[in-house]
């Protein structure tokens, strides 16, 4: 029964890390292939009194999948599509948690699904899907090796969330095992809270009864702590629970019809303030699916990478005089509509101080791939930079923020970032989802002393962003690294409410230890 369970030192050291570059420790590890393996792993952990850390693709940036002692439950091999449905004219793909985004995308685009687990009804839907309009899955956290389970667990978003919202909106059902082996199988629209009182039915007829936290979530892009609102659909609590409430073993993923025309346009600006004013003015344009930013620090790192040859040699040259780039992706009914939007974007860029000549437009897939590559190259290059630093100073980690603020605070928050970064004197690169006023401010400290200063600065920012009505984590989730920010954002009383909610799901406090908040008393590790 436990033959899949191995000693943790038998597996690669990479399973003790995620993309945050922080490292944990564990005694055992399981690579589950099916639901039964998951149940056995949970049983084993209960018998041996072990913490359990669920892992997907370990691409998280907040250390959420980094083990906290005990057992690693890795789901990357549970990666099959189990069926299909058609609900309200939308295709639903049922996926195991380990399906990676790249594979999901390829399957949808080529319409080649592994139908080995499909029943008759799913096969019927599949035949229809095959000849129907092209579909796509809108959630796009750039890193295509993320798994759908991980994406749901931290309610991932990404560039296109500007238009399509975060992962949550595209999940129609969650099947989850609780630590005691019970199973909840919730479909959207079927289980609601009554005010803040909630009762989630389990498949064995029992239920989990709890009270939702009473905070009011900020009205910005947000992935900080449990989703909680009066009368909410309870599926939304499970999405974004950061591996602390249960193990997701299957998801219903809602596909959208692919827009006829998907175009990209990057506007290059010589001054950051022009770029910000462009963002402010262009928000009214209705066909924009994503609005992304790259500042001078980010562009400089890219230039260096490109000069070093490497995989980035094919990136387009950004002239030295350019300080900022704003990338907009257009999703339109047809090319005519896209052209209209594009020309308006050009006009707005000129109004903001830019020039239509300083733009890059992608109107076909291969050009779009080029711009996507550019977009992804920025975080990748910064990570590579950090890895290089860590060779001499292993204690350094990437220091990046994930905060969002309301629309009218964009200029203020940028001013704060610039002023404070200059004070620390640490090298920085800013990029991210500027349409949602959600920028990743990344600092590259070159000593532990500098890192200390950055840490203090981030704490101050967490306070300021909270007072602006923003969120301390807009998309990466709180994980382990941002737990202290969550406390700043919601305060100790609301954290206590979250703790007691968790205890109803996981009374022995075994799942995802260290994520979101500490146990309160002394935590075993």
């Amino acid at each position: 029964m436990y033959d899949l369970i191995q000693s943790a030192d038998k597996i690669g050291a990479e399973y003790l890390r995620d993309e945050s570059r922080s490292t944990g420790h564990a005694e055992y590890a399981v690579f589950a292939k099916n639901e039964e393996d998951v149940l056995n792993a949970l049983r084993f952990a209960n018998e041996k009194d072990l913490n359990v850390t669920v892992q997907g693709g370990r691409t998280g940036l907040a250390g959420a999948a980094v083990p906290y002692g005990g057992l690693i439950l890795n789901l990357s091999q549970m990666d099959r599509i189990t069926g299909m449905e058609l609900q309200d004219g939308k295709y639903i793909l049922y996926a195991q948690p380990g399906v990676v985004l790249l594979k999901l995308r390829k399957m949808i685009a080529s319409r080649k699904l592994d139908t080995g687990l499909f029943d008759e009804s799913s096969l019927g839907i599949y035949n229809r899907f095959f000849t129907d309009k092209e579909q796509f899955f809108p959630t796009d956290p750039t890193e295509t090796s993320a798994t759908v389970g991980g994406m749901a667990a931290c309610n991932a978003s990404g560039a296109r969330s500007y238009r399509y919202g975060a992962m949550r909106r595209h999940v129609s059902s969650v099947r989850m095992f609780l630590m005691d082996g019970r199973c909840v199988n919730v479909k959207r629209g079927e289980a609601f809270a009554n005010g803040l009182k909630a009762s989630l039915p389990c498949t064995d007829g029992s239920s989990v009864d709890f009270t939702l936290p009473s905070y009011k979530m900020p009205e910005v892009k947000n992935a900080s702590g449990y989703y909680a609102a009066p009368d909410m659909d309870l599926i939304d609590l499970l999405i974004g629970s950061d591996g602390t409430l249960g193990v997701i073993v299957e998801l219903g993923l809602i596909l959208d019809p692919l827009p006829e025309a998907v175009w990209g346009s990057a506007c290059l600006f010589e001054r950051e303030k022009d770029a910000l004013s462009f963002v402010d003015k262009v928000r009214g344009e209705k066909n924009i699916a994503s609005l992304e930013y790259f500042d001078k620090g980010a562009l400089e790192i890219l230039r260096q990478q490109k000069a070093n040859g490497s995989a980035f040699a094919s990136l387009p040259d950004v002239p030295k005089r350019i300080e900022s780039i704003v990338y907009a992706e257009l999703h339109c009914r047809d090319e005519e509509e896209a052209l209209g939007s594009l020309l308006r974007i050009g006009e707005i860029a000129e109004l903001a101080g830019g020039n239509e000549k300083d733009t890059w437009v992608a109107r076909n897939q291969s050009d779009l791939d080029g711009l996507m590559f550019f977009r992804h190259a920025v975080p990748e290059s910064v990570n590579m930079n950090i890895d290089k630093l860590r060779k001499t100073q292993p204690s350094l980690t990437k220091m990046g923020t994930d905060m969002s603020v309301p629309d009218d605070k964009l200029f203020d928050v940028m001013e704060m970032y610039r002023r404070d970064i200059e004070k620390t004197g640490v090298r920085s690169a800013i990029w991210g989802h500027i349409g949602n006023n959600h920028l990743h401010v990344n600092l590259l400290p070159s000593s532990t002393e500098e890192a200390g200063r950055v840490k203090e600065m981030f704490k101050e920012w967490a306070k300021s962003v909270t007072s602006m009505g923003g969120a301390v984590s807009a998309e990466h989730g709180v994980g382990k690294l941002k737990a202290s920010f969550l406390e700043i954002m919601y305060g100790p009383e609301h954290i206590e409410e979250m703790r007691s909610l968790k205890r109803t799901f996981d009374p022995e406090w075994k799942l995802g230890c260290g994520n979101l908040f500490s146990k309160g008393e002394e935590e075993k590790a």
């Binding site: 690669g12 080529s110 094919s314 897939q365 050009d367």
Partner: protein, 256 residues
């Protein structure tokens, strides 16, 4: 310098989708793109013009919808575009196509330099460039990976050969065919797209070329295609964990 670049419309991906029920190829004509090798050729031409002045003309033989792709080449920096479009051109193989393109080059008053992609991603023949040079009776350099220098009367380029590379200096006019990564094509700008909207794409019919009717279209094409079918992908990648690499490789070896 007067440069003509030959551009072909091709399907956007090499992947062929078969209808699971009817087992026929699903064609999606909305997804046509310019042959990527030709896009590189246009960029190379624009770079030469930026240094030496002159004009870059994008030339294509194709269905009327190809006009859109030619406009895109103008957005990317070409000055003009010419589309050879006529029912009688239909069914042309490379011989008839290169004949038609050669006639067009002459009708346009000739060129100092003609650039083609090394090949097109749909047919993969790599024949158009060399054939075109034969019709025009000018030198041809294929598989060019770098253009070193040009002046009014010569071009110096480096080409791939089976044995390595070769640096060649040829007299103009000449035809050269370029590899895809000769240079990185720039993306069009909004300003370029605006310009391309108003630019004229000259449409040319067979009569205007003074072409011999027996050499164009199906009649001028000795090549016969007997059957086409998608290539089946065989084999799968095997993932090997780093710490078990040696043993796994030995195992694979045995299997083979």
């Amino acid at each position: 310098m007067n440069i003509i670049v030959c551009v072909k419309q091709v399907p956007s991906s090499n992947e062929v989708r078969l209808d699971p029920v009817r087992k026929t190829i699903i064609r999606d004509s909305s997804k046509a793109v310019a042959n990527p090798f030709d896009v590189t050729a246009v960029e190379a031409a624009v770079q030469i013009r930026e240094k030496h002045g002159g004009t870059v003309t994008a030339l294509s033989m194709g269905i009327p919808a190809t006009e859109k792709l030619l406009r895109d080449e103008i957005a990317r920096g070409a000055d003009k575009a010419v589309l050879l479009t006529d029912r009688v051109f239909a069914g042309a193989d490379t011989l008839a196509t290169s004949y038609t393109l050669a006639k067009a080059v002459n009708t346009l008053g000739g060129a100092d330099l003609i650039l083609c992609g090394k090949m097109a991603t749909d047919g993969d023949t790599a024949q158009i460039g060399p054939e075109l040079s034969a019709w025009l009776d000018v030198p041809c350099v294929t598989d060019v990976i770098e253009i070193k220098e040009t002046d009014d009367r010569h071009i110096v380029c480096v080409r791939n050969t089976d044995a390595g590379t070769e640096t060649v200096k040829v007299e103009l006019p000449a035809v050269i065919t370029v590899v895809k990564n000769l240079t990185i094509p720039r993306l069009p700008s909004i300003a370029g797209i605006r310009k391309s909207l108003d630019a004229e794409v000259r449409l040319v019919k067979a009569a205007e070329l003074g072409a011999d009717p027996s050499r164009i279209g199906l009649d001028g094409s000795p090549t016969q295609v007997i059957r086409t079918f998608p290539q089946e992908k065989k084999g799968e990648a095997v993932k090997i964990e780093a710490d078990k690499a040696a043993a796994a490789v030995m195992e694979l070896w045995e299997e083979l």
